[in-house]
């Protein structure tokens, strides 16, 4: 099966530093690809390039065999769901208004929207009774569930998650990890998941992409990384994380 997203020689510089060196990467359809690495390694930049929040300095990004341009991205965004660490919910809109925002903008019929909303509540285990609440009235975990519903509302082909569980306490985090994994499998969703937590990467990742200092160091399964490290950094990273886990 062909890749859904393909990055060809993509690089990105910010004023003072190179965020991403020339990079080639394919995101396979129907799988969860996890981007992992220390902070500042370029994993979030990569996500932002795909959704068009930043433009590459060189190279090109293809989505479903279509090159992303500032013009084409406007429509492509409807086929991409995007969830960030703090949820990115708009504080002046209720949970349901946040979820339905884009569908309303596109003029979807009320009946269709209500049906989809019910499906999403069931899928994300979000109580419909809480739909009329505003973001400040929801807990962190509930907010991330709403954010996920918003991202899934238009049934996107690609789901981008930028450390979606980073700000949650461990218990909430564990239950959401479990639910998320179930959702991805159920939807056969193509997911690009950014995290800096190796355990989380192993839990979700069909494929793990380890990044460091703006480059992809190795791409493969956990076993590949563990047994056939492409670079001393891979071993170092895995060991550092394991030591933290054992301590």
């Amino acid at each position: 099966m062909s890749a859904l997203v393909r990055l060809v020689d993509v690089s990105k510089r910010y004023a003072d530093a190179t965020a991403l060196h020339s990079t080639n990467l394919s995101i396979a359809r129907g799988k969860t690809t996890v981007l992992i690495g220390p902070s500042g390694c370029g994993k979030s930049t990569l996500l932002r390039l795909i959704v068009g929040l930043a433009e590459p300095d060189s190279g090109s990004i293809e989505f479903d065999a279509q090159t992303i341009t500032p013009h084409s991205i406007q429509l492509l965004r409807r086929r991409i769901g995007y969830v960030i660490q703090e949820g990115g919910l708009f504080p002046h809109l209720s949970a349901s208004a946040n979820v339905l925002l884009m569908a309303r903008h596109l003029g979807t019929s009320r009946a269709k929207m209500q049906k989809r909303l019910a499906e999403l509540c069931e899928l994300t285990r979000f109580s419909p009774a809480l739909l009329s609440r505003y973001p400040v009235e929801l807990s962190g975990g509930q907010r991330q569930r709403v954010s996920l519903m918003r991202a899934l509302m238009l049934s996107p082909e690609l789901l981008l998650l930028d450390e979606p569980l980073g700000a949650l306490d461990p218990l909430v985090r564990a239950s959401l990890q479990h639910d998320l994994k179930e959702i991805f499998e159920r939807l056969r969703q193509t997911v690009l998941f950014v995290t800096h937590d190796l355990a989380e990467a192993i839990y979700f990742g069909d494929e793990i992409v380890l990044m460091n200092e703006g480059r992809v160091v190795q791409k493969g399964s956990v076993t590949d990384l563990r047994e056939r490290p492409a670079d001393p950094f891979v071993t170092e990273f895995i060991h550092a994380q394991r030591e933290i886990a054992l301590r």
């Binding site: 406007q74 925002l101 903008h105 505003y134 400040v136």
Partner: protein
């Protein structure tokens, strides 16, 4: 009343698919603020007058005389100084006003020396302005002192001031500034005094009475010279020119109206004028003083006195019109400018800098700057334009900072969702900035209610009218007739916007 433009334009519709644009909802709510401007039918004769009692009284006399002849006339009292009135007359903002021959020669025609009435008349005709013969009295400038003080120091004439360099002078700004004023007088009489301050004419009398100043300028027919027991210093070197009172009028006035003015010539001598001035200040009522003039000529005509309630209602309504319209314009322009400013760049910085600079211009100076411009002149338009400019900064700045304060993560979430730029602005950014935008508008509105009292200076009416005439009459009760409603109005406006907050700020932001 002259018409001024009422912008009843509907706010532009946002292009968002279904959701009503928050901005347009908001504008609709602000529209409620602006009472509609009453439109007048056929143009009455507009009479102007300067900001002192005698000019008010003469203006009232002209109005009554025209009324009695069946000509509709309107009096805009206390519009300011010579230049403002002259400009207004030339440009047709007013049709006539009382003036003095010396002022015409020195200030208007800038002749540099005395002019014969014939010369003045032909010079004025070039501007399309005519002049009546003297109304019968010469109101020249004079210097006055407390009588007791003058006696103690042995001062009888202006040249006697030479011996007393310690005396403090409080002079009106007009006298300090004019050609035939203080600087020439000081030269002629070689006056040694260094302690010279500029002070409002009416306040100067209080300052004189309380001993804060020792000498001030006055008009020789001023009733307060007698009332305050002041001594007029003799102009022993014949410095002050003749100031015969006359009416200046536009030659385009109907003959019937000009004929009415001509009938006033030679009917007022100095004593009579001083008595009318005294009557005006005693009764705190210019109309009554004018009535006295007509009563003496043809006994009978009862005073037509408007009730205080009606006057008060008129002032308040006018005040609301001035503030409401200017605020509405400021919102319509200020919010979009704030949106542009929030994006930064040279344009954004330029907008904020412009609004900031406008704010630093003193309100009086801003009015004076606008009056000579073609479109403005002595009118409500000018007052509204000035108030509009003052209202801009808080609205522009608060809109810009409200938008800039939206966290980047939320901006990017809106972009990543795929919302169009217009939808992002209307549905996400503006509602999120609504608290800041509204508080900017509230600030503007409250400041506006206060500043609008200055509109009376250029004859635009409102609650400044009683404040100004009260100040001129040194009458606290009249001042309060304007000041109290203005303060209450400011509170009401504040309360209204607090309510508006609840309607317009989305509930999710108030939790």
């Amino acid at each position: 009343m002259k018409m001024f433009p009422c912008s009843g334009g509907r706010p532009a519709k946002c292009q968002t698919a279904r959701a009503a644009c928050w901005g347009s909802q908001f504008l609709r709510a602000v529209l409620l603020l602006s009472p509609f401007v009453a439109l007048a039918s056929n143009d009455p004769v507009i009479i102007g007058s300067k900001k002192f009692t005698e000019s008010y009284v003469l203006g009232e006399i002209a109005k009554r005389a025209l009324h009695n002849a069946g000509i509709s006339a309107e009096h805009r009292p206390g519009m300011g100084g010579t230049i403002i009135l002259w400009q207004a007359l030339r440009t047709g903002q007013i049709d006539l006003y009382p003036e003095y021959t010396g002022t015409i020669a020195q200030e208007i025609l800038r002749s540099g020396g005395p002019m014969a009435p014939g010369e003045i008349r032909s010079a004025l005709a070039k501007f399309g302005v005519g002049m009546t013969e003297s109304l019968g009295f010469n109101n020249t400038y004079a210097l006055v002192m407390r009588r007791s003080e003058a006696k103690r120091l042995g001062i009888r004439a202006i040249s006697d001031l030479q011996k007393h360099p310690e005396l403090r002078l409080g002079l009106t700004h007009e006298f300090l500034g004019r050609e035939d004023g203080w600087s020439r007088l000081r030269e002629r009489y070689a006056q040694p005094q260094r302690n010279v301050t500029g002070i409002d004419h009416a306040l100067g009398y209080s300052a004189l009475a309380s001993g804060e100043i020792d000498v001030k300028d006055a008009y020789s027919t001023d009733a307060r010279i007698e009332q305050n027991d002041l001594a007029t210093l003799e102009d022993d070197l014949n410095f002050f020119p003749k100031y015969e009172a006359i009416f200046l009028f536009r030659l385009s006035l109907p003959q019937s109206a000009i004929a009415v003015l001509r009938r006033l010539e030679g009917t007022l001598d100095e004593r009579r004028m001083m008595r009318l001035n005294a009557e005006a200040e005693r009764t705190k009522n210019y109309t009554k003083a004018a009535d006295l003039y007509f009563a003496e000529r043809s006994a009978g005509n009862a005073a037509s006195e408007e009730s205080l309630v009606r006057k008060e209602a008129h002032w308040i309504l006018r005040h609301l019109q001035l503030t409401g319209l200017s605020l509405l314009l400021a919102v319509i322009l200020g919010v979009p400018l704030g949106i542009v400013a929030s994006r930064g760049g040279p344009l954004g910085h330029g907008i904020l800098a412009f609004a900031g600079i406008v704010q630093t211009i003193p309100s009086l100076a801003l009015l004076a700057l606008l009056v000579p411009l073609p479109f403005f002149g002595i009118s409500a338009r000018t007052a509204i334009a000035a108030l509009f400019l003052y209202s801009l900064l808080p609205i522009v700045r608060n809109t810009a900072s409200g938008l800039q304060d939206i966290p980047r993560s939320l901006r990017e979430s809106a972009i990543a969702l795929g919302l169009s730029p217009a939808a992002r602005l209307c549905q996400i950014y503006l509602p999120m900035a609504s608290r800041s935008v509204l508080s900017g508008i509230k600030t503007s509105a409250v400041i506006n209610v206060g500043t609008a009292t200055l509109a009376a200076l250029i004859g635009a009416g409102g609650l400044g009218e009683p404040i100004l005439s009260g100040l001129n009459l040194n009458d606290h009760a009249t001042i309060l007739q304007g000041a109290i409603p203005a303060a209450l109005l400011a509170l009401a406006v504040q309360g209204f916007f607090d309510l508006l907050d609840r309607v317009l700020i989305p509930r999710g932001l108030r939790l």
